[in-house]
Subunit: 471 residues, 2 copies
């Protein structure tokens, strides 16, 4: 009756008790397995859970949460460990709840343009499955080939296409959630409109597994805009690239992606991928990568022409245009690999800043100014159309003392600037563990107290992903 | 220093005390004023407040809420009294907080495509102000000429264009909110992306003034799609019209409005407006009103051609096309007046049902079937593209006993069908007072208990719009 993998049964007393109490639930605690469930893609973090549990159904999740809640044992959900804020790390030990076996695409509803999925489904697999039916799920974080929809829901992930199509939250109609005590609820309805009570759907999205565990999501889909074109636009001055971003929208363009990369970002990606075919003129200091899309091939050219007019106003260089899939894949691959390339190049810290997009020039200047003051180099890139700039601060030659003690001050200075521009301290990576110390920059004590009361309303004894988000 | 209207000072002891404690706050309690603040557009409801307060600043709202909270006096916010669920009615008496004097458009931010408004601004005035700058706020409830953005935020209002552009919640970036104890908070940031703590912005939208009072909203804007065309499409069988709705999207069309009207709806609107120019063939039983839009005039024709192909598949009659503004205004005016026309025709109850749009045919059949069983006539119309059907149940010849005692059973039967189809009991009107008895159809006891804990986290002593939403 119980299907188990070939992993040996749990060794610890706690693991044996859990396995005995919930027959059929896969429980693991080999040291190498705990180690494999102790790190995500955030720099420099490791926290070992005591156990790993791999439920394969909502009822197993429910039984597990009730069991843990009674015993005050922390439960932290994890998908594919691609997170960038430590959200999936069991910082208080306890149980790492892997969604690996909750990986069914339950239903593609072609009549209503909806998709029902379990949290462990890989985002790209989900996208390809609906595209095969002419449908479109737009949210595509750089990690989409490995990250799970559960992780995207937990962190409210974005990605390049968010600029036209919105972030994860904008695609969610309804969630099945297991609360801390094991109760199973639905948050919404499978409808495009809903004015029926409090919006607990949107409260769950981005809550990083601290309010409940999502076991099923109903997502909306759109018809697939099959056609697109991609432009890589060089600028001699990064400030001009940043200024152009707001200008593009002011001129009525609606790009389906609008990415910014400093020269160092694309250079590192070229080194990392070994793809050196791209012409990179010596006077290029930054690029915008701009995509337009449409339902018909003839929808593209008018958009490209309008874009060209805007770009001229901002001193752009000659764009490189990719219309065929090989060319587009090459450009997107370079963009997607920037994160890994920076990681391979140096110890770094990444801050996920976001401001109203018209303030990008001021943000970039402030980051560089802070870098000069504190003596660090930074590489900036990201989803400029959303005002979302990933700031990679490189350790380089900095001493460990400066890196660990002085740098948080510099980050604080950057975040203070972000907030003064109307922005916030995470656009799409979440707060998790690493941004928690900075929450007071964005939120007043009263605002943080309100968030704590919400946490208490969902999880009064704090067993769900304890010690995350709220300082 | 204090600017008062010519209304006399409050007569009641409570009113005099409030006016004395918060100098500058306009407080009214003349019987005719209390009467004018006792009804909205929901059928058959009247609840008198004890006082009307008209704060003109966030700090006055804050002082008022702190004052009322200390004294356990209910405070119910109200905009323009166009609500359709009784959300603004002071069902427990106390203070009716009018947003009439919080009516400033604080800022149109053309650089960032954002708008900052106070809650008392009229939606249509706001739309026209941003359109004058080439920008677009899409949400346009039928009452947009009189309703306020505060009311739209409170009820998460929709309207025809929601089918392409989303409902009120999809346009909100950040809110300034006064909590029950007078604390002023911000919920979000002025950014398109935000993964920074719990989404209290979306929790406030649609919460009908039960969690806090919104005193300022930052809304996003889009470039204005200036061009559109409108089709009125007749069907001999309403079921074909309903089936066509999902078909339109399955064929890849993206209408900017897709409305359904039974024949009786358009006939009543013609009677009510006196506009009888529309050809109405004897074999027409229902219409779809379909709008397409674009940034260029030449964007329209390909959309109309594609639509025509779909409509043929569903046995549509010859469409009437309006391309000039007089023709479009005429059609929209008839559609917008349906609600008032029904009201003028008969005592009625309106239910704001919503289902996944592919299930509209089953919903319409179930409504008519329930009508036969319980002996009532109904007129159905609404935002079919969103699966949102307004069901107007006519009193007609029904006895008061049947109307008051048997009808709730029939409504319950309809809502049960709605929920079994994946739908919910309010698409855009909110729960307020009148739908509260049906909340148990959509939500389990555990789900309702969770919503109650959220209410308690925001408003522990229940002074904000008490006795609404939750049964």
């Amino acid at each position: 009756m119980t299907t188990r993998s070939s992993t040996p049964p749990p060794q610890s007393q706690l693991g044996q008790q859990l396995a005995a109490d919930i027959p059929g639930l896969e429980v693991q605690d080999l040291p190498e397995i705990l180690d494999a469930h102790s790190r995500d893609h955030t720099e420099d973090l490791q926290f070992l859970p005591d156990l790993v549990a791999l439920p394969n159904s909502t009822s197993q999740v429910s039984a597990l949460l009730a069991w843990a809640n009674e015993r005050r044992i922390p439960v932290t959900a994890a998908g594919a460990w691609t997170g960038l804020s430590g959200g999936a790390l069991a910082v208080k030990g306890g149980i790492s709840l892997s969604t690996k076996r909750l990986n069914r695409m339950v239903k593609i509803d072609e009549l209503n343009h909806q998709l029902v999925v379990q949290p462990g489904v890989i985002v790209q697999e989900m996208q390809e499955a609906v595209q095969a039916k002419g449908l479109f799920y737009a949210v595509d974080p750089a990690s989409r080939g490995t990250c799970t929809i559960g992780g995207n829901l937990a962190e409210n992930s974005g990605g390049p296409r968010a600029v036209k199509y919105g972030v994860t939250k904008d695609w969610v109609l309804n969630l099945e959630v297991v609360l801390a005590d094991g109760t199973v609820i639905q948050t919404g309805a499978n409808t495009l409109k809903n004015s029926t009570g409090y919006n607990t759907t949107q409260l769950m999205v981005g809550s990083e597994g601290t309010l409940g565990i999502i076991t099923e999501a109903t997502l909306k889909l759109l018809p697939w805009p099959k056609f697109n074109a991609l432009l890589l636009v060089p600028f001699a001055d990064p400030k001009d690239a940043c200024r152009a971003v707001a200008g593009i929208f002011q001129d009525g363009n609606q790009p389906s992606a609008l990415e910014f990369m400093e020269r160092a970002a694309i250079e590192l990606a070229m080194d990392f991928t070994g793809d050196r075919q791209l012409p990179l003129s010596s006077d290029t200091a930054a690029h915008l990568l701009i995509e337009v899309d449409g339902f018909r091939e003839e929808d593209l050219m008018p958009q490209l022409e309008r874009l060209a007019q805007t770009l001229e106003r901002f001193d752009a260089g000659e764009p490189l245009m990719a219309m065929d899939s090989a060319g587009k894949d090459q450009l997107w691959n370079l963009r997607r690999k920037v994160g890994e390339a920076v990681k391979a190049h140096s110890t770094y810290k990444e801050e996920d800043t976001v401001v109203p997009r018209g303030h990008l020039p001021e943000l970039l200047a402030a980051i560089k100014q802070t870098g000069s003051e504190y003596g660090f180099e930074s590489i900036c890139y990201g989803h400029a159309g959303d005002g979302n700039l990933h700031v990679n601060i490189l350790k380089g030659e900095l001493s460990i003392a400066v890196w660990e003690q002085t740098l948080p001050e510099a980050i604080r200075a950057i975040f203070q600037k972000v907030v003064s521009l109307g922005g916030t301290i995470s656009g799409e990576h979440g707060i998790g563990w690493v941004q928690k110390p900075y929450m007071d920059i964005r939120f007043s004590p009263a605002e943080l107290a309100l968030q704590r009361r919400i946490k208490d309303a969902f999880d009064p004894v704090h067993t769900l992903n304890p010690d995350k988000i709220l300082p």
